[in-house]
Structure formats: structure tokens, C-alpha cells
Amino acid sequence: MSKKRSQEEYQKTFSFRFFRWFNGEKDPYLGEVEMHPQEEYQLDPQAALRYEKEHDAILDKVYDLERNKTMQLFHKLYHATSILFCLFLIALLLVTISYLPATGTIDRPVNNEVAKRYIENGLEETGAVNIVAGMILDYRAFDTLGESHVLFVATVTVLILLRLNKTQKSDAEINDRRFEPKNDTILQLVATFLVPIIIIFGIYIILNGHLGPGGGFSGGAVIGAGLVLYLNAFGFAKTERFFTEKTYKWVCFFSLSFYCLAKSYSFYTGANQLHSVIPKGTPGAILSSGLILPLNIAVGLVVACTIYAFYAMFRKGGF
């Protein structure tokens, strides 16, 4: 038979103490261990000065090249090995190059059926007058897709590294205003004339990518440079009217996914010998060569936005 214990009796048992300790109701040190409040450690300023002097003296002795023989030897060896290493690398590369086939000979490995096919059938198969555009956006479109994604990943990385939160952002904006001369008349006048011309030139390069030299990447870079000039002349207040973080996000998202979907379709039809519904058009016309023109526009948009975003993030830590 179990008997009922009184409260006092229970408090003497082990289980009471154990559960009190387990629940953290009693600090095992409080009232048991003698304790003194500790002073915060403060370095004696004279001692700190002495330590610094000693440290400097030791460093002076170590780097005293006239007396320290081992250091002298190490420096000499360091220079000698670096020169030897450079010479070795140069020799190695030159020897390797001498084994390559000479430029322009017929039996070069570059001179194979792939290049021949690009040159002979390129116009017929892609519809692009500019063979380079036909190559990078039709035969090797996968490559270009990867390049666009590399740009996007680079922006994301810069965003992770340089992005500031809201309080830091306002500080950065104040700093930006203080150290940057605002309302520079010469710059603004030049920008008013140059920016439209630069951007129209960039658009021309993108839209003529399949007809002449250029394409998405170069045109996008030109447009991005124009945007950077506009931002420098008129400040963030003007550019934020049409370009914010949201714009960047949606433009990149739509361009990259459009590229993926369009190219998936053409790869699917090409691999399965199906008839593609996209018309080739007459070569030389602006609306021709199938998917190359829209793909050029997509790549150009991504590149232009990326360049502007890079600049904005480097300067202010955000858009």
C-alpha cells in the first residue's frame, strides 16, 4: 500500500530535487557557490603602446633586409623562381603552339564538313543573310541560351554580394547625392542628344541581327551603355520611372522563358522531322529567317537590362 506523503516529506526526496533541477526552477550555483561580480577587462593604454612598439620592432628586425640573411635569401629565391616560372610557362606555350597546324592550310581540323555545310546551306536552312547570326541563333542556339543564363546568374550573384537593405540603402543614396555632382549642364545637354541616338542604334543592331553584322548581344550592350549614360546625367529619380527591380525581374523572366520555349519547339520539330509552322520568309527582308529575329530581341533585352542592373548595383546597391 502506498501511503500519502506530506509536502515537507516530498521535498526531501531525490525525485523532487531532480524534477526541480530538470525544470530549471533552481539555479544550482545560486546560493551554493561563492561569486564575485567581475570587472570588465581594460587594456592599460601604456601597455598597449608598448606592445605595439615591440610588435613593430620585431617586424622591423624580421624585414631588415640588410641584416636578416634568411629573408635576403628568400627574396632572391622568390625573384629567381618567379622569373624561371614565367620563362618556363612561355616556353611551354610556344612549344605547344608550334605543334598546331599552320593557319590557312587545307588539312586543318577546323576545315571540315560542318563549316562547309554552314556556308553552303546556311542561307537556305536558317533564312538569315548573316551567317554568323544563323549559326549562333539557329544551329547553336543552345549555346546562346547558356550565355544568356550566365549573364542572368552573374546579375543574381552581384545582387547577393552588393544588395543593401532599406536603411543602408537610404544611407547609400545620401552618399551618392553628396559625392556625385548633380545637374551637370554639359553632361545633361550631351546626354539629351546622344542617348536617343545610342538607343536607336542599339535597336537597329538588334533588329538587323539576321541581315547584317550585330545581333542581340552587341545591340543589348549598346542600349545598356545608353541607359548608363542617361542614368549618369539625370540620376536615379528619372530612370526609376521606367526601370525598377520589378521591370528587370519580369523582362528577364519573359525573355529567358520565351527563348527556352521557342527553341524547345524548334528542337522538337527538328529532331522528329516534323514540319515547323514558323515561316522562313524571303531572305533579306526584315521579317524573315524564322525565329532568329525574336530570339535576337529576347537576348538584347536580357543583355541591356543586365548591364543597367550591374551599374545600378555597383553604384547604389540596388535599383
Binding site: 548581344f217 552587341s218 550592350a221 545598356g224 551599374y311
Partner: protein, 91 residues
């Protein structure tokens, strides 16, 4: 190869060597910009105008602007004495 191209290539080599020997970071960036400009002219001579456009826009334009901004951020661009005084007074 024409004489013009050879002169440009000589400039390229001079630029490449002087970048590594210049003590001032600002000067190095300016030399780098001129390297890219010469390179873009050379691309035109080598009959690849698309590369020339890209080189002029990216190499000479955007990369150097990003370098300038970075130098400003790490306070590596030192202004003249009077500008420094003004900045101190403003603070």
C-alpha cells in the same frame, strides 16, 4: 597585313605592358580603355564588325565604368588637395 594594322598592334603591346607598370589605378583603367578601343578598330580591320561593336560597348564602355565605380567605392580615386579640403569642410 597593312602598316596600319602593325602600328595598331604595336600600340596594343605598349598598352598591355604599361597597364601592369602604372602605379596609379585610375591611369591603368584609362590605358585599359584605350586597349579596348584599339582592339575594336583591329576587329573592323579583321572584317568582324559585330565583334567590334561588342568590344567598343562592353570593353571600352561598360567594364571601365564599372571599374571607375568600384574605385570610387573603395576610395581609391584621390582628388586634388582643394577637393579634399572641401569634402572635409562639408563633413
Amino acid at each position: 597585313m597593312t602598316a596600319f594594322q602593325i602600328i595598331l598592334m604595336g600600340f596594343l603591346i605598349i598598352c598591355a605592358i604599361s597597364v601592369s607598370f602604372s602605379k596609379n589605378l585610375l591611369n591603368s583603367i584609362l590605358i585599359y580603355m584605350s586597349f579596348s578601343l584599339i582592339m575594336s578598330i583591329l576587329w573592323v580591320c579583321l572584317e568582324s564588325p559585330d565583334l567590334a561593336i561588342t568590344e567598343a560597348a562592353v570593353g571600352a564602355g561598360i567594364t571601365s565604368v564599372l571599374f571607375f565605380v568600384t574605385l570610387k567605392k573603395i576610395h581609391a580615386i584621390e582628388g586634388s588637395e582643394s577637393e579634399k579640403k572641401e569634402a572635409k569642410e562639408n563633413e
